[in-house]
Amino acid sequence: MYKWIPLIIAIGLALVLYTAIGKDPTKLETARLNDPVPEFNLATLEGDEQRVTQEQLKGKPMLLNVWATWCPSCRVEHDYLLQLAKAGVPIVGLNYKDERPAALEWLVRLGNPYELNIFDPQGKLGFDLGVYGAPETYLIDKKGYVRFRHVGVVDTKVWAETLEPLYLKLSE
């Protein structure tokens, strides 16, 4: 009887360790999941006169895309964001720790997929959201709650497999 103990322990350990295989250790939990978007009062990218608050992120489900001109992956996903915008998906941009002229120039040159752009040069809203690396894309429901976060590039696969099903559910 006792001679089976090491085998049982080994199998138990193998099962525990197996569950961790394939997990990406750089992906963090979303601490803000199912919480409202933190309160903020920031300028739009276009100018300081116009202010944006969390209230503008309510009313319909939308994507909140964290981007910057210094972020190479943001360039990668930009064309796909244009496609999504064309298809009617509302996208709000959070211009994160960037410079205004560079960001504006980027939108003129590459096209603007955003309904609205929040200018956050200090990364304040980014910090409160728990952004740890651009690009990040949040799915916000019509009440202004964070329902999902994707860290990394949004492409056809990510949209079809994770974001779109959730977006469609929130749009019902």
Partner: protein, 173 residues
Amino acid sequence: MMKIQPFKHMASLVLFCILTAWSGLSLASIDVYEFEDESKRAEFVSLTKELRCPKCQNQDIADSNAPIAADMRKEVHRLLEEGHDHNSIVNHMIERFGDFVTYKPKVSAETIMLWYGPWLFVVIGLVIIGTMIRINKSSRQEKATKTDSNKELSHSEDVKRILAKYDERDSKP
């Protein structure tokens, strides 16, 4: 010439030791923070060692050059100057970045194995050792009693045999 040789070795050894020790120093965070009092500075040092950089896999924010770590140091400084205590600052970070950011996660259903797992393994080990000792002891005892009774048996058989011999001799006319 020969006299200088050992000194040369000594000098290079000393240099080697100094360079080796120096290489371990962390020169990552170069930003300077002013504090109202020394206790807050100490708190800042302990907090930046306890908080983990979300972008890095295994670096505290005191040690990391990542922009997010710099932001977190700035935020820790701001909160300390505003009078927040250790726990509220750690909670402030967990609220934004999740349990990942602290090297001392709160005890919860998810982290209970981290906190008490090692003790569990110690207990399991002790139980196994205890069981093995008991099994060993009892089997040795069993063996011992077995040989004892064997001896007794053979002894009594010897006696019987001898007595039988005597009986035989006595019964002879």
